[in-house]
Symmetry: D2
């Protein structure tokens, strides 16, 4: 349920209302928007009398929110959320590009790639230290050492870094990682999400292989319920019957999510297609459809990458693409 | 199997080769491309000795085509196919927009919409006379009368028209329809495809609800096997578990198909999303991803449309979108 | 909407009610069940005043049917429909087995298989004359000649026969075919369904690759709307992401359909799995889950079958399976 | 790669072979089967010369295993694995029934249900203490207290218990839980699987919402790679486009898995359908298809269950079903 409060509502009356709601077992979140103050009610509002609230002087309107997600709901927070990461920001109208290797392999590799993507205009560096591999016999990532090398690349270039955490026990290693990524296979690892809700660091949540957009928003709701509002959502392809591509990139996720939530939405065309030569076309489509950004795999020697080389762009291809992306975003859905 | 013939190959030797292949039960299709002459072999080529062919003077190289589609295969026909429809053409670099109502309802309705979409830059008019409805109790379309009204709109505006045929028995009514559409539910109506292969009129084949891109190409192959090369493929969303959208638009179909086939590929964002307000964003994405065109539903009174009003754009919205589309196409994947 | 009429309702009053409903544009279907007489109303019942009907002497109760399928709805026809085919019957408690080759290839082949399956207890023979093939270059079936050979096998063994029709134009050839099959890819060939509604011959409708159970019932509704109530539904696997099996057999279709419709439901484990050695286990599961029967592919020389040999049982395996099936059906869901 | 060793192979020569393989970076697992001794090679066997091994006196045959799963592979371990849990055992020919409430709610509730299912023949009790809920606002389970109440029920009835763990940090609480369950959403929580591989306690792995059977086997491989061979696999329905059922139960998983792996396979018809009245039919189908057992939800007051009441059987219905299941299993695929 949301209440829209009247302009210049009496502060004492607002406090009194909050206290009363608290006795009814309902928490409040006041969101000050550009145009109005919205008070969101979280908890079991089924016993709250809407007409009673509507009758209060300070209340302009009352509306029940049907959707199970509240904090993540745009009805609850009309303005876009902008997630700030160092000098970069995701959301609010721009198109942020995050790029880097699937795995951190050596210091030379990750630093070289970091420099290349920075020169090409990337706002952040991605690199995997803890790799989710379907097979226990496959390279599992450099783990703690991988985080250190990633942070070296951050030092060398000034680029903020994002990396995937796979278990709560690994979180202490992520102290200097700027954005913590929740992988597709962990989108409904609810214990991990609750833990991330205790932090204030930005969290990038990837949509699960077969999770609905509503389930993605509920995973965001888990993190927000803990008090952490800094969430970036990511569409990375869903599992379907088609076998030409690794997954099926669902670009309609972008307009649908922008309507339902205030959280920024980026796109990962690399894991979606699984094939490097199709990544540019889908990246341009992501810019045109109005996404807030892109997260894409770049490797300086894809043939010898320790994982996902087939879907990685070379630095040259990435640079050429990055140049084109902002122009397309500018004439795409965001300005329509 | 394809043979690349040497430049200025002796004509008599070429004829002799064709005749010999015929005795082996193999038909040939010579395709003269911009740069080379390719002779495609259709039929059971398993007994053909590749080395023998390679040794002929006139043959530059021989390659087996693994894919089950031959005529539709780009290896067989390297240059883009351009389908000409009156003054319009689909394929070859431009972005053709086809627009119109889901159903033809009255003469006034279809003529008004035709004028509006023409003014906005549409190359062709769509309109359904035979409607595939899940329920036998739903409006089935005006049928023969619907075709006549559509042709009236063609007369009034000069716009070529495309309409869906649902059964072989209806084909005589389509004599003056410029492009015959095979609906998603008929993509594997093989008897219908064989019949359309006998015509020379352009055929628009919509990808089935749960058909792979390879199956779509095999359906095109059915039509081409009959001798009709004028095919336009259409991605219109596939069926998945997600329920926010009517289907899931698979834009990766565009780069994947452009790689595998020479046939033009357009996108239908209306049936894909089922929701008018999301159609513009996905249309812009379709232009950016490099499609050859768009087919979109437009109705002058969506609230009262006899079918699919929820996904139809108003003429005003369509006009605004059409203005933007060509610019996005120009800076999208096709020029990357 | 359905009305339950009181026992021994006055016949004149019933006629008067029907006539009045007709003036309101609503047709009636009286269904006499074991326990009550139900009058189903078909058409636009939105203007009918339920309370008015409820107040009539002859009416015991009135209920709106929400589901879009009416004639196929069990609320409309509480007793199981039994489809009689020669001496065989499908529905009503038994377990009917339909078996035969994927394609009719030669007279010797189809007669031999017919004799074998008859000895093993099959109630009907299946055999394809018109084959739906993804590729235009694959064997398309013996067509008219195939039907003739199938009828020869019928003559030799007395087994009724079922075969797939692919287009309305082929129907004249099916005059002596006992059950006409609508293949999965034609489940929403609405023109074909309308035509089959004009016949009185039993129709076997296979669920489409990605069609919901409700869509399957609406396809049955198309046939029933034409006046043909003799429909057998068939679950044959749906398309999913899993690749070990050709499709994913959805056995929950059986209890769900038995609840919603009175039409009999059989299972095709051959096309579902695509692998002969898994067919017996799934056939036994189909019997246990309460299906009305099974349709399974049997070939006397699977390695050399012209299509789908990989999923065909040998006559020996079929015989062994058939012996076991009725016992399992007897202790399965139908007697629970 | 697997080697089949000759009967009464010289022990010293076997040790020598193992040592040599170790220097090549390959570990060995000897599996003594009923009929032969198999030595499985784990690791990178690409440099191992198969012909060289074949030439050794002690080696009868050598075969490369193509599948990415080795320890879980039946080629590696031909005999069925039997997982023993107290007096119960899962695998090896019987049909074990695991039953209990979705959530442990109160001591009275779980003890009453435990008694009822025990009387009806259940081999184990299930009960959720840590509940994976899509919404952070839904009941999350009684957690540590829930485990204690479950253990009380174990004490009262002697039934071994199975419960879901959601995070590595919770494992200490599971010390007296007999079988640890990995939920569908955690099937690819690789860090959790690695940790469970360190235990020797049985682990029940549920197939993920959209995971392939091969991915399920790779998740088992993660646990086995840690040295824990006590794994029970569970098919619980996959996510598809069909909406009548909560998921689509894929019973073909049973014959497919029995062919590829030696690990026991059970079925969960409750989460698969989501509807209590369809659970019996699918349970009977699971018995007929040859599963090693069933895990089903039972609640003594489904209308007031704190979660999943809609899919829970009453004790009476469960008792009636349990009586029927073993008989069906006996005449089903396992004895075919």
């Amino acid at each position: 349920m949301v209440l829209v409060l009247r302009d210049r509502a009496d502060a004492d009356q607002v406090d009194y209302l909050k206290a009363w709601l608290k006795t009814m077992g309902v928490e409040t979140r006041a969101v000050v928007g550009n145009e109005q103050t919205i008070m969101g009610l979280i908890g079991d509002t089924s016993r709250i009398d809407m007409e009673l609230l509507q009758s209060l002087d300070i209340v302009e309107s009352v509306r029940r929110i049907q959707e199970p997600y509240k904090s993540a709901n745009r009805k609850f927070h009309p303005d876009d959320t902008v997630v700030r990461v160092g000098d970069a920001s995701i959301g609010g109208g721009g198109f942020a590009i995050i790029a880097g290797p699937c795995s951190v392999e050596t210091e030379a590799q990750v630093v070289a790639i970091a420099r290349a993507v920075k020169d090409a205009g990337a706002a952040m560096l991605r690199g995997g230290a803890f790799k989710p591999r379907t097979s226990p016999y496959a390279f599992q990532g450099l783990r703690a050492e991988g985080i250190e090398l990633l942070l070296k690349a951050k030092e060398e270039t000034g680029l903020p870094v994002v990396s995937e955490v796979m278990d709560i026990s690994q979180l202490p290693l992520f102290e200097h990682v700027d954005v913590i990524q929740v992988g597709a296979r962990n989108m409904q690892n609810f214990e991990l999400l609750k833990e991330l809700g205790q932090l204030r660091k930005p969290v990038l949540i990837k949509r699960g292989l077969a999770n609905t957009l509503q389930e993605l928003l509920m995973s965001a709701e888990y993190v927000m319920a803990g008090g952490n509002p800094n969430i970036i959502l990511c569409e990375r392809g869903i599992r379907t019957f088609e076998t030409e591509t690794r997954n099926t990139l669902d670009l309609s996720a972008v307009p649908v999510l922008r309507e339902k939530t205030h959280l920024p939405v980026i796109v990962d065309p690399s894991h979606a297609t699984g094939v490097a030569r199709w990544v540019p076309a889908l990246s341009l489509a992501a810019a045109a459809v109005g996404a807030d950004g892109l997260i894409v795999e770049v490797h300086n020697d894809p043939k010898h990458a320790l994982c996902d080389g087939a879907q990685s762009l070379t630095p040259e291809m990435f640079s050429k693409l990055a140049e084109r992306l902002r122009g397309v975003h500018a004439v795409g859905a965001r300005s329509f």
